[in-house]
């Protein structure tokens, strides 16, 4: 689709911290609760893992703590007495609203951090473009010439 030499694209750095299986299960469930139908087809845990690899090393470690923190703290801080992953869908949504409207800033920040990662991972995926009516890149669709740089190329 894109006339770009593969070697010119950014190579994903090696991850300094990774989500474990529990984290991935939480991310998958949160992906469904955040994005909605079709989340599973987007493989959001994998997509988020790739995004996290772009962060500075120290921050990768912090971000990979978020799913477990969210899941476990739901048991402690939300009147459910259960991990978020163990709740039924209705109770999960109620717990999300509880996190979103919490008076504790760190709870809102944990939730929004996860939400931003999941939604960004979902909507940068071209598979979601059509449902928004987003046409995507011109390249490969509308061909116009590249202007020669007015001062020549850097060389």
């Amino acid at each position: 689709m894109l006339a770009v030499p593969p070697e010119l694209r950014a190579a994903v750095p090696p991850a300094k911290a990774r989500f474990d299986d529990d984290d991935r299960a939480i991310l998958a469930a949160l992906g469904r609760a955040t994005f909605g139908e079709g989340a599973d087809a987007l493989d959001l845990p994998d997509a988020v893992q790739t995004m996290v690899a772009w962060l500075d090393d120290e921050r990768q470690g912090l971000v990979t703590l978020l799913p477990g923190l969210f899941d476990e703290l739901t048991r402690v801080l939300v009147p459910t007495g259960a991990r978020w992953l163990d709740l039924d869908p209705e109770a999960r949504e109620a717990a999300l609203v509880d996190w979103e409207t919490s008076a504790l800033a760190f709870r809102r920040q944990v939730l929004q951090g996860l939400r931003q990662l999941l939604l960004a991972a979902a909507y940068v995926n071209p598979a979601t473009f059509a449902q928004l009516g987003y046409a995507g890149p011109w390249k490969g669709r509308i061909e116009v010439p590249v202007h020669p740089p007015r001062f020549g190329p850097a060389s």
């Binding site: 894109l2 770009v4 030499p5 070697e7 010119l8 694209r9 950014a10 190579a11 994903v12 750095p13 090696p14 469904r32 994005f35 909605g36 139908e37 772009w54 962060l55 500075d56 090393d57 120290e58 921050r59 949504e93 999300l96 609203v97 979103e100 800033a105 709870r107 809102r108 939730l111 929004q112 951090g113 939400r115 990662l117 939604l119 960004a120 991972a121 979902a122 909507y123 940068v124 995926n125 473009f129 928004l132 009516g133 046409a135 995507g136 890149p137 011109w138 390249k139 509308i142 116009v144 590249v146 202007h147 020669p148 740089p149 007015r150 001062f151 020549g152 190329p153 850097a154 060389s155």
Partner: protein
């Protein structure tokens, strides 16, 4: 000549008259001016050199290639997303082309409060003129406005508010609408296709994919910089050292203080890294049912409302309302709600939405500190700043309602929606704390401010660090306060001033 870090023979040892760290607006201009004057110049950039032909217009590919941390960098408390370029051209590669000369009111204030006669309007005007010629700055014709920007214009005009089209550094722009992912057509006159080729044509050598980690000093003199060559996967693959008679740091208001602080440079003002201004910005959308607004099409920023700006109109709210759009990955996170209901609604209305960025001139600064191999950005919206941001949100919603929107919504969590002017009171106490509002910064300023006193300012009026004979800053770090308008031309203008002083030193 270009020597890529991923291909250079390690260890790399370079001697030059001048080493410039950072190839954005400030660094590229200084490199070009000094190279044209016959100096041997090494222009060093951590990010890659990406040409128009390599711009794919997709977020998934371009965000990692062109932005620090793939556009996911945040303040330490996660309350604001920090977007800045990391490629040859820096943020000029990914900005929306807006070109404001620094408003005279602000220049007078800077000259007065910081003892900076060199920034008086009559001194800056010829610098701006020279820069604008290189950048091909021109007015945006109203016929070029897309529907998104027309909605903001219509609403503002119906309410009698002042506004205008942006001046932009564009040449033969097609209006493809991917400015934030790098211009694939060389229409945007970024520093990567203006000052950088001017520099290399004059003999400068460009070193992309080379991350500088330390400024080398001996007593009151800087003697060079050192760092690492980066592979295509951004991992270090060898060391790099640049020895020079003159060192210019231009990594932007986050990376510049980070580099200087981790190098342990002397700063008797104690202000290095402080006074970080971010122009925190949030979005308000208006829905126009049955209309194809398609905010992602066309020139993204075409119209702004200046009515509530202090630097332009002396309004105390000190906010600028700018028509804007972002690709789906970025724009989707601001739409509130959860799950399938949210997804279905966003799919139904996405192309009916008009969007405006509410850009706040912040009065309470943050700071940059050194973390483990990374800069830490500490920033919290103060109560006063939040109050003025609410004014901006409410006025934008009002403009959309005046333009015929069925409803307007802010990027708050939970969401705030208004359907009539009476509802606008909802903005009076909308929560703006961490995790309650989508906040972004596209403009980082301050942290190594200019000024006439060594006990309170990091750099002297020529951009030189007070404690050193030959260590200079040439980027948005120099701003004494937030600019209140998109800062691109201000950076170029101050860099021109720095270059003049360096050339005058002989």
């Amino acid at each position: 000549m270009i020597v890529k870090g991923s291909e250079a023979k390690a260890p790399l040892e370079v001697k030059a008259d001048v080493v410039v760290v950072g190839s954005g607006a400030g660094g590229a201009l200084v490199a070009a001016r000094l190279a044209q004057a016959g100096r041997t110049v090494a222009l060093v950039e951590a990010g890659p050199h990406v040409t128009a032909a390599e711009m794919t217009q997709t977020e998934r590919e371009m965000m990692p290639l062109l932005y620090h941390e793939a556009g996911l960098r945040q303040s330490e408390d996660g309350s604001i997303v920090v977007l800045h370029g990391r490629a040859v051209g820096g943020s000029t590669l990914v900005n929306y082309l807006d070109c404001f000369r620094t408003p005279d009111r602000l220049l007078w204030q800077w000259a007065d409060t910081r003892a900076l006669p060199e920034v008086l309007p009559e001194r800056m005007a010829p610098r701006f003129a020279r820069v604008e010629e290189v950048l091909h700055v021109q007015d945006t014709d109203e016929s070029q406005l897309n529907t998104n920007n027309r909605k903001l214009k219509l609403g503002g005009e119906r309410l009698g508010w002042k506004g205008a089209t942006f001046r932009r550094n564009a040449n033969l722009c097609y209006g493809s609408g991917f400015c934030d992912l790098g211009c694939a057509y060389n229409a945007k006159q970024s520093s990567a296709i203006t000052w950088v080729p001017m520099a290399t044509a004059a003999g400068a050598t460009l070193y992309p994919e080379t991350r500088i980690e330390r400024v080398l000093t001996v007593g009151s003199r800087a003697v060079g910089v050192e760092g690492v060559l980066l592979g295509a996967d951004r991992q270090p693959r060898g060391t790099a050292r640049f020895m020079a008679d003159l060192v210019v740091i231009a990594g932007g208001a986050v990376e510049t203080p980070f580099l200087l602080l981790r190098s342990g440079v002397v700063d008797r003002s104690g202000q290095l890294g402080h006074n970080l201004w971010l122009h925190p910005a949030t979005a308000v959308v208006g829905r126009f049912p049955g209309e194809r607004v398609v905010m992602t099409d066309g020139i993204k920023q075409g119209w702004y409302i200046s009515e509530f700006s202090w630097v332009l109109e002396e309004h105390p709210a000190d906010v600028l309302l700018e028509g804007v759009a972002a690709p789906p990955g970025m724009s989707s996170i601001i739409y509130p709600g959860w799950g399938e209901a949210r997804r279905a609604e966003l799919a139904a209305v996405f192309n009916e939405l008009a969007a405006t960025g509410v850009l706040l001139r912040d009065h309470t600064p943050g700071r940059v500190e050194v973390g483990e191999g990374r800069p830490k950005v500490h920033y919290r919206l103060s109560d006063d700043d939040a109050a003025r941001l609410r004014v901006g949100m409410a006025r934008t919603a009002e403009a959309y309602l005046a333009a015929g929107a069925s409803e307007a919504a802010a990027a708050t969590f939970p969401g705030v929606r208004v359907r009539s002017v009476r509802d606008l009171r909802a903005f009076d106490d909308v929560p703006c704390g961490p995790g309650q509002l989508a906040l972004f910064t596209f403009h980082q300023m301050g942290t190594a401010r200019l000024g006439g006193r060594r006990d309170r300012d990091v750099c002297d009026p020529t951009g030189r660090l007070w404690a050193y004979d030959n260590l200079h800053v040439a980027d948005s770090s120099l701003f004494p306060t937030a600019s209140g308008v998109n800062p691109q031309l201000t950076v170029y203008g101050l860099a021109e001033m720095v270059a003049e002083s360096l050339l005058a030193r002989g």
